[in-house]
């Protein structure tokens, strides 16, 4: 797991004077599931296309297995791609679509048959070989696109928002299935999405991007619990972000109160941003809370209620399974590990 299979060094990309990627440094380990996550226009798809060879970086080097592959065209890279709208070939049936890459490589037909059938089984569509592409549903097209890419035994599979066109239920199903496929075939996946939940459930490593820059790289748990800046905190789940002052290690004050926390390494009395996840609050009677406020609104979300609690300095978003009515006075309680400190951005 430690080897850097793909390594992007100081990548810049400009389109007609507009910077799309700004000094991007990123590596992907062998057999890792890496997700590039960010809002549209953040450069995640461009990064993927640079790895695939469909774009050349304006500056910087792409290494594959230690070799510079800047000038290697896409058809010579041991990388395959699942495109956003699948890009299946309508003039060929399912079997011939999957066999396409192998036929270009002039693999023997008997071996092609073996490998295509194995792929059809892998994506759970064993009897679909003779079907025509326009008879497939969105989810089936998705699976065929994955099979068509994987049948070539690539070292890396690139996936460009492959689940974006599917409905919610199918998307969840495919998320689980994709992860299972990745573990089964044991190759590197680089996955692009703007859906933070998708990123959290599937990835070994998440790369959060915004405006052509990497904001944070880490495991899903790290990214969720220890967001590095306000952008990450807001993009990955919901967050309350308030200004505060870090008096010394493990002691922070915000909203006129001092709290114990677990963070350290800041300058004495450094101004910081404090992040509290909505689900980390405990709603208690007003006299037991560290913060007290009035309930301003209440939304039923299924598992929990989303409650807006207005205190003197800030209106907090609170997720609680307990109900509170609009106008109620409530107390909010935080333990030290509910409080995350970020450098002011």
């Amino acid at each position: 797991m430690s080897e850097k299979l793909i390594n992007l060094e100081n990548i810049h990309k400009d389109y007609g004077g507009k910077t799309v990627l700004d000094n991007l440094n990123l590596y992907v380990r062998d057999k890792e599931f890496v997700t590039l996550l960010g809002p549209s226009g953040c450069g995640k798809t461009t990064t993927l296309r640079i790895i695939g060879g469909f774009e050349t970086p304006s500056a910087g080097v792409v290494y594959f297995d230690g070799k510079n592959i800047n000038d290697v065209p896409p058809n010579k890279r041991p990388i395959n791609t699942v495109f956003q709208n699948y890009a299946l070939f309508n003039h060929l049936n399912v079997y011939d679509n999957i066999a396409f890459g192998l036929r270009i490589q002039k693999v023997r037909e008997s071996e092609i048959k073996d490998r295509v059938n194995r792929m059809l089984k892998l994506v759970s569509l064993p009897d679909y070989g003779q079907r025509s592409i326009d008879r497939l549903s969105g989810g089936e097209k998705q699976r065929i696109a994955i099979a068509r890419a994987l049948v070539n035994h690539p070292r890396v599979l690139l996936l460009d928002e492959p689940l974006a066109a599917l409905d919610l239920k199918l998307r969840k199903e495919m998320q689980r299935e994709l992860k299972a496929i990745q573990q089964q075939v044991g190759i590197t996946f680089v996955f692009v999405t703007h859906d933070q939940e998708e990123a959290l459930t599937m990835s070994d490593t998440i790369v959060v991007m915004n405006k052509g820059r990497i904001q944070q790289i880490g495991t899903p748990v790290d990214i969720y619990n220890e967001p590095k800046n306000a952008f990450v905190a807001n993009f990955i789940g919901e967050s309350n972000i308030v200004p505060g002052v870090m008096h010394r290690d493990k002691l922070v004050s915000f909203c006129g109160r001092t709290f114990d926390c677990l963070d350290g390494g800041f300058a004495p009395d450094e101004p910081v941003d404090v992040v509290v996840r909505p689900e980390d609050f405990e709603m208690v009677p007003p006299e037991e809370g560290q913060l007290t406020g009035t309930v301003r609104s209440l939304l039923f979300m299924g598992v929990h209620y989303e409650i807006m609690v207005e205190t003197e300095q800030f209106t907090w978003t609170v997720h609680s399974i307990n109900r509170a009515d609009v106008g109620d006075r409530v107390g909010l309680y935080l333990t030290p590990d509910d409080i995350h400190i970020m450098h002011r951005s």
Binding site: N75, N80, N85, G101, I104, A149
Partner: protein
């Protein structure tokens, strides 16, 4: 809202089709008339058709027409398809400009196209030492066919998945392989429609051929020449054949289009 078909409307429709098709119907009927009369029906005969196929001038004109139509259609389809791919991949402004330029020959009067090509060929012929003939006729036909092929192929390119070309490259294709193994098969219906359209236009062209063929004669030119002399019912026969051929080709083109639309509609 559906307009009501009143009696006046139906009469108008009838008159419209009557004036459009009655002359052709008369022509077809009288191509089977046993005497040279063009007003009195005197009995059924195939004589004019038999005579037609013994008339060397007509047969040679037919041969020229078929040869120039097939060659022009094929050449224009190859050139037009590559041109369409090129135009499609241009930046927006250049693409719009090229499309406008492409449309000019389509809406331009045939006579202008014919005269201008004639002047060009005579001018170049003087310089390079060639005369109007089959070569210039073929070049003229290829020229006026290309815009129609482009117009027929471009919509197919627009329907393609944006990533199709890249998907082919991703699976190991070189640039050429990607074009011939993926893009061309996907736009094939548009290419063949363009080919048929070009063939049809070439077969029934008169004006442009007239100005660019020199001493060579196409079928439509032969018919025109025949009308100048004594009018023979052979003209009716050859016109009938020409009309039915074009009609058949148009039906084929239209049926294909309807089928493709149905197929496209079935997808969604």
């Amino acid at each position: 809202m559906k307009p009501k078909n009143g009696k006046g409307g139906r009469l108008l429709t009838f008159l419209l089709f009557f004036f459009l098709y009655a002359p052709i119907l008369v022509l077809i009927v009288f191509s089977f008339n046993s005497t040279k009369s063009r007003t009195v029906w005197t009995g059924f005969t195939f004589d004019w058709y038999v005579k037609l196929f013994n008339n060397d001038a007509i047969l040679s004109a037919l041969y020229t027409t078929l040869l120039v139509s097939v060659l022009a259609a094929v050449l224009a389809t190859v050139a037009g398809t590559f041109a369409a791919v090129g135009i499609f991949n241009m930046k927006r402004r250049n693409r719009e400009l090229m499309l406008q330029v492409n449309n000019i020959p389509v809406v331009n009067a045939d006579i202008i196209t014919g005269v201008s090509l004639c002047i060009l060929f005579v001018f170049l012929g003087k310089m390079l030492g060639f005369e109007l003939g089959f070569g210039t006729l073929l070049i003229a036909h290829v020229t006026f066919n290309i815009p129609y092929v482009i117009l027929s192929v471009l919509p197919k390119l627009r329907q393609l998945d944006n990533n199709l070309f890249e998907a082919a490259q991703d699976l190991g294709c070189s640039w050429m392989q990607a074009f011939f193994k993926v893009i061309l098969p996907e736009i094939w219906p548009g290419v063949t429609s363009g080919l048929l359209m070009a063939f049809t236009l070439s077969i029934d062209d008169f004006v442009i051929s007239y100005f660019t063929a020199g001493s060579v004669e196409t079928l439509s030119m032969r018919i025109y020449a025949m009308t100048k002399k004594r009018i023979s019912p052979e003209i009716n026969a050859i016109s009938t054949i020409l009309f039915l051929t074009i009609l058949l080709l148009l039906v084929v083109i239209n049926v294909r289009e309807v089928r493709q639309e149905k197929k496209a509609a079935g997808k969604n």
